[in-house]
């Protein structure tokens, strides 16, 4: 095929990028080579717009075994155990075909984790949809949830936590982010760096079809009317084959056969082979006629760019071929040596002994473009809302509005479609601040949570970025886990737009600041740009996935109230910040003002103190106070236990609306038995923690003295009805 301007444009390459390719090759690329450049140089694989900013994130720490740059991040959890985890987006495919898009998103992130030698032990997801009234929302929600469940349930890994949100900003561009967490032995972690010349390059897994060709470049393009025509890129997930691939890989990993291993994700065979060679400063030569194909007459171009799922590339030690082949045969999977490593530092593609393409590896990796895109700062919004000017709403009315809204409704409709119990190590399931998964056969566990707050990030990205790391940190603390590290999925609009690029840069500044202060490093992540349609971009939506450690199974907590007549203590100061609050949004449809301020000093001090109290077994239940404010958090504690509580009259000077709905940060609610109250207070005072004893638990009624009193069963009903009526 002739390489015309149109062909170049269709490959998502800019004119000067094409010139750059000619320079690097010292000639014109042929069609196959152009395709390969296009796959490697697009945003999704090259991180060309984000790399400069991502470099600033803190990635180190005593607990970090492997930071960003590998298939997933690795943290140390003591003994000889390591946790391997990562989050990834599958937004565009899920909008086009929600079931398969979400399913293959889960499949993809699982491969990232088991390719490093981990047995996956938990799945999480963060899914964002348009407003419920939007004509597409219902079927997207249905498709995505059953796709996530369909894959995870079938492969037998529990889906234990996540978030489901609705906002008009996602009307034309939903977000589907999936996170996988795995467990490995510290001395059995596998990397993607090739070593040695003339080593066998082995293709394992499913056959290659024409599906997903140019998926990566689709993920790097804005949507427009023609996106529907990009249909052939839809991939169908095959969780059954993935299960076989998982077991076969883990079986092979028991031995010392593997030099390097890499899953074929975005840009399939191209990116996996280039990445392995590039990391090892080697070349790689492939005989494409050997690639197992599902369709007849597939061209080298199609083979190199196909994104067929459930495939891996392995570089084997000498003399291990037969041993490895046997394992894959047992699991009924293809196993073919398709090439070898070389010292030429070139990617050489042969088809029936003819060289069809030859590209220096460097040109595809380190010499890929990096952009320092222009960006502008966002001003801190001035306007604060004067609630005295709004129509007065009682606490009861305000709370009911929140609890019955799609965003705050009970998520059982979603989570009951996921197998949360398989593997029998789920100590705490969805519906808590964080899920807790026991390390199999051990007396320790990890806690996991994913969080985002797009409204805050949109209003003021630096604060939003900081806040979301802190909220995630708080969620882990609340269940008694020591936060270790995070992964992040950065969902943003078009980076070529200065305003959007600014949101990105500033959110990252906020994330960086919080991570540094809290010693909560970033060990893996994913960037998804171009979320938007026809110049309308989504709100900046960084999603943070955190992992924490519980060293002793006797000290973890849920937020379910435990028994009557215990004290309720509120940790942290309440100023009554209502800007960007859920109260204003749900009751008045106002989304103005600035997000609540984040004071990292208090955040850290409050969090560490709460964690210590939990570890001393002085707390019966704990919950962080986040969106919806104090009253919403209290109601969640009460509803989950079907137990009541009574909060004493707020002090005179305070406006009850601000006090109960304000979203001030760094706060927790603790349930404390009478017998421990003195000890707890003393400890709080010694650590200079601001706290208030706000009330106590009781039977049946959710009560705020002088303001409201509701039967807890009625509250549950209100909270449970939305999904069932949708």
């Amino acid at each position: 095929m002739n390489i015309t301007d149109k062909v170049i444009e269709n490959h998502g390459l800019k004119k000067d990028e094409y010139k750059n390719i000619q320079k690097l090759l010292k000639r014109d690329p042929n069609f196959l080579e152009l395709g390969i450049f296009s796959a490697m140089w697009n945003e999704h694989c090259s991180y060309k717009s984000s790399r400069k900013h991502l470099k600033k994130l803190p990635t180190k720490g005593k607990q970090v075994i492997q930071g960003p740059g590998e298939n997933a991040g690795v943290v140390d959890i003591g003994d000889d155990d390591a946790i391997i985890f990562k989050i990834e987006s599958h937004n565009h495919p899920s909008y086009i075909e929600p079931y398969q898009g979400a399913a293959t998103g889960v499949g993809g992130i699982l491969r990232d984790v088991f390719t490093m030698g981990a047995r996956p032990i938990a799945l999480l997801n963060s899914i964002h949809f348009g407003t419920p009234a939007h004509p597409k929302t219902k079927s997207l929600l249905n498709g995505v949830v059953s796709g996530i469940g369909g894959y995870g349930n079938c492969i037998g890994i529990p889906t234990v936590a996540g978030e489901t949100k609705f906002s008009e900003t996602y009307n034309e561009n939903i977000l589907v982010n999936a996170m996988a967490v795995g467990h490995a032995k510290k001395n059995k972690i596998f990397y993607s760096k090739a070593k040695g010349v003339n080593k066998a390059v082995v293709y394992v897994g499913s056959k290659t079809g024409r599906d997903g060709i140019h998926g990566a470049s689709m993920a790097s393009a804005e949507f427009d009317e023609s996106s529907e025509e990009k249909k052939p890129t839809v991939q169908v997930g095959d969780p059954f084959t993935e299960k076989l691939l998982l077991e076969a890989c883990l079986e092979l990993m028991k031995d010392e056969s593997i030099i390097a291993i890499q899953d074929m994700g975005a840009a399939g065979l191209t990116s996996s082979s280039v990445e392995m060679a590039s990391k090892g400063s080697l070349g790689i030569e492939l005989d494409l006629e050997k690639v197992p194909c599902r369709e007849e007459n597939m061209t080298p171009y199609e083979m190199m760019l196909s994104e067929s799922q459930e495939r891996m590339l392995i570089i084997l030690e000498d003399n291990k071929e037969e041993y490895a082949r046997k394992i894959f045969k047992k699991w009924d999977l293809d196993f073919v040596v398709i090439g070898k490593t070389t010292d030429t530092k070139n990617l050489v593609l042969k088809f029936n002994d003819e060289i069809k393409g030859e590209i220096p590896i460097e040109a595809l990796s380190s010499k890929a473009p990096v952009y320092d895109r222009k960006w502008i700062r966002k001003k801190l919004p001035k306007k604060e809302i004067d609630i005295k000017k709004l129509k007065k709403i009682s606490l009861e009315e305000g709370l009911i509005k929140i609890l019955s809204s799609p965003n705050y409704s009970n998520k059982d409709w979603v989570t009951s479609q996921y197998d949360q119990m398989v593997m029998c190590d789920t100590l705490l399931k969805s519906g808590s601040d964080a899920a807790i998964i026991r390390i199999h056969n051990k007396d320790k566990a990890i806690a996991v949570s994913v969080d985002s707050s797009a409204n805050y990030c949109n209003s003021h990205p630096i604060t939003g970025g900081k806040q979301i790391v802190c909220e995630n940190w708080r969620n882990l603390i609340s269940v008694g886990a020591k936060p270790l590290a995070i992964t992040n999925c950065l969902n943003f609009g078009n980076p070529e737009n200065e305003k959007i690029m600014g949101e990105f840069a500033e959110c990252l500044e906020g994330i960086k600041e919080a991570c540094e202060y809290l010693n909560y490093p970033v060990v893996s992540g994913n960037v998804s740009f171009y979320n938007g349609t026809n110049k309308k971009n989504i709100f900046p939506t960084p999603v943070i996935g955190g992992v924490g450690l519980i060293n002793n199974l006797n000290t973890y907590l849920s937020h379910h109230l435990k028994e009557e007549k215990n004290n309720l203590i509120l940790i942290g100061k309440t100023f009554g910040h209502l800007g960007q609050s859920c109260f204003l949004k749900e009751n008045y449809s106002i989304s103005e003002g600035r997000p609540p301020e984040v004071n990292l000093l208090n955040e850290k001090n409050n969090g560490e103190t709460v964690l210590n109290l939990i570890n001393k077994n002085l707390i019966r239940s704990a919950h962080d106070v986040s969106s919806g404010g104090l009253i919403t958090s209290l109601s969640e504690m009460a509803m989950s236990a079907k137990l009541g509580l009574k909060i004493s009259k707020p002090r005179k000077l305070r406006n009850p609306t601000e006090y109960f709905f304000g979203e001030d940060q760094s706060r927790y609610i603790l349930e404390v038995k009478n017998e421990n109250l003195d000890k707890v207070q003393k400890y709080l005072k010694n650590n200079n923690i601001f706290y208030e004893i706000i009330g106590s638990t009781q039977k049946k009624y959710f009560e705020i003295e002088g303001e409201m009193k509701l039967d807890i069963n009625d509250l549950c009903k209100i909270n449970n009805q939305w999904y069932n009526n949708y």
Binding site: K231, V234, V236, D238, R294
Partner: protein, 80 residues
């Protein structure tokens, strides 16, 4: 009027189900099986005597619900 509708995966779309069924049949000794693809089948009975209108209705059902047009094709057959 009665119609039947068959829904099949588009040509290049992966058919994991068909694949597994094919392997199983081969393992059961049916080695001269070349290929098998799995789809859906519907028998629809509607209260409409005008066959033009009836057919339009069936098309609408297929497009709106029965088929996932992104990965599937459908075919309509009149039964009686």
């Amino acid at each position: 009027m009665k119609y039947s509708v068959t829904i099949t995966l588009k040509k290049d779309v992966l058919d994991p189900q068909g694949k597994v069924v094919q392997n199983t049949l081969s393992n059961l000794g049916m080695t001269n099986l070349k290929s098998i693809r799995q789809g859906k089948f519907f028998e629809i009975d509607i209260d409409e005597n005008d066959s033009k209108k009836a057919e339009n209705l069936i098309v609408e059902m297929c497009e709106k619900l029965l088929a996932n047009l992104i990965i599937e094709d459908y075919k309509i057959n009149k039964l009686k």
